[in-house]
């Protein structure tokens, strides 16, 4: 049954949300969710790449020969990831340093390649755009959710960071300095649950989120 454009968009926000339902793109999900700031940064970079890649792959879908399609997808995705890398170095250098190697790793993020292969190479440009927007926003929301959980209990702070802060302060909501500094969620007597920040804690939190999502499905 064909989906409408709106349905292509909304499926990425819940039914087929990438890390928790499609269970794809887990590596960056686990790695960059130590703070909310890193999660937002990765989500935005990822959405940009997914959007550009989906649109271009969809536009070229009749031209790309099937035998070399993966190679073509990789060229396209890698180009946009490099563009994102350069833009981050030019405009958000501290965030670029914090995300480190995970920006280049967007090239091999299963979600991007997966959507190119399973969707964009078969559907029209508008549908691919809606799919990318939905998946991208869904991924960002997942990272923010997981990042909030880990940061609040693992460090007792909540940081929106310099990138979001710059946008919010431009809109007149608060100042950049306010958004940049980590907000203490609990009082000074709070003992951070350090386990959440470590790698095993990430896995446990992810498992918890998957469990919650499955409960909702039922």
């Amino acid at each position: 049954m064909a989906k409408t454009i709106v349905q292509e968009f909304t499926k990425g926000l819940w039914d087929e949300i990438p890390p928790f339902r499609l269970v794809l793109g887990l590596c960056p999900t686990l790695a960059v969710t130590k703070t909310v700031e890193n999660g937002i940064g990765m989500g935005v970079a990822f959405t940009f790449v997914l959007l550009c890649s989906n649109i271009l792959v969809s536009a070229l879908r009749k031209v790309i020969p099937p035998k070399v399609r993966i190679a073509c997808f990789i060229i396209i995705i890698a180009t946009f990831v490099t563009v994102v890398e350069l833009m981050m170095q030019a405009f958000t250098y501290p965030l670029f340093l914090k995300l480190g190697i995970f920006i280049p790793l967007i090239v091999v993020n299963c979600i991007v390649l997966g959507r190119a292969e399973a969707f964009a190479s078969k559907k029209g440009i508008v549908a691919s755009f809606a799919d990318a927007m939905g998946m991208g926003i869904g991924f960002t929301l997942s990272l923010v959710a997981l990042g909030s959980l880990r940061e609040i209990f693992g460090s007792g702070t909540f940081t929106l960071g310099s990138m979001t802060g710059a946008v919010l302060s431009k809109l007149g909501i608060g100042t950049l300095a306010f958004w940049e500094t980590p907000m203490q969620v609990f009082g000074p007597s709070f003992q951070p649950f350090k386990f959440m920040i470590e790698a095993p804690g990430a896995f446990v939190c992810l498992g918890l989120m998957l469990c919650i999502m499955n409960l909702f499905k039922k």
């Binding site: 031209v63 020969p65 070399v68 060229i75 180009t79």
Partner: protein, 197 residues
């Protein structure tokens, strides 16, 4: 055969567009990236080395060319006189290029401070060349002319324990800095005159 040609053509055209796009984005962002790196990576090192300067060493800077490489020099004004410069030199470290910012007093050619900027050294081992202030402090007051070698190689530099390769890279960077300084000194003095307020 036709299929093969189509594959080759599509891949080539795609790669050409990719290369073109990346080259133009790189050109467009090159200056911005340089400024950002200056602000976040080299800036702290420069401010630390030229502490006490009455000017802003990052905005008071000029470039000179040494054998096809452009080097940025950051000016430090002390007591109304522009007499110190800081510049970056590189050495081959354990994991890649190691950048060292060196501050020199142009009156007596002595080092006023050293700071490691960018590196890919082993965290906790080689990275101590950057984080350990005692390592950098040994270079203060040393003339920037002679060759720098670590003690195990017969020189005077106290290496970071367990990080000989990293320490060698720093020494190599300082030796090269000495060479660059000697080569460009006349031009440096000329440029500095314009910064003396």
């Amino acid at each position: 055969m036709r299929e093969m040609i189509k594959m080759i053509v599509v891949l080539t055209v795609l790669s050409v567009f990719s290369g073109g796009l990346l080259a133009s984005v790189r050109n467009g962002t090159k200056d911005k990236i340089e400024n950002q790196q200056l602000q976040f990576v080299k800036g702290p090192a420069i401010s630390d080395i030229l502490k006490g300067a009455s000017n802003n060493p990052i905005s008071d800077r000029f470039k000179l060319t040494d054998a096809e490489t452009e080097i940025s020099f950051f000016v430090g004004v002390f007591d109304g006189e522009a007499r110190a410069v800081a510049f970056e030199s590189f050495g081959k470290g354990f994991g890649g290029d190691l950048g060292v910012m060196i501050g020199v007093n142009t009156k007596d050619d002595k080092i006023i401070g050293v700071g490691v900027t960018t590196h890919s050294e082993t965290p906790g081992v080689g990275s101590r060349a950057k984080s350990d202030p005692a390592f950098a402090a040994q270079f203060k007051g040393v003339p920037l002319a002679e060759e720098f070698k670590v003690k195990p190689d017969g020189g005077q530099v106290d290496a970071v324990s367990g990080a000989t390769v990293t320490s060698r890279a720093v020494s190599a960077a300082l030796t090269d800095a000495g060479r660059v300084y000697q080569q460009l000194k006349p031009q440096l003095i000329e440029k500095l005159k314009s910064f003396t307020k």
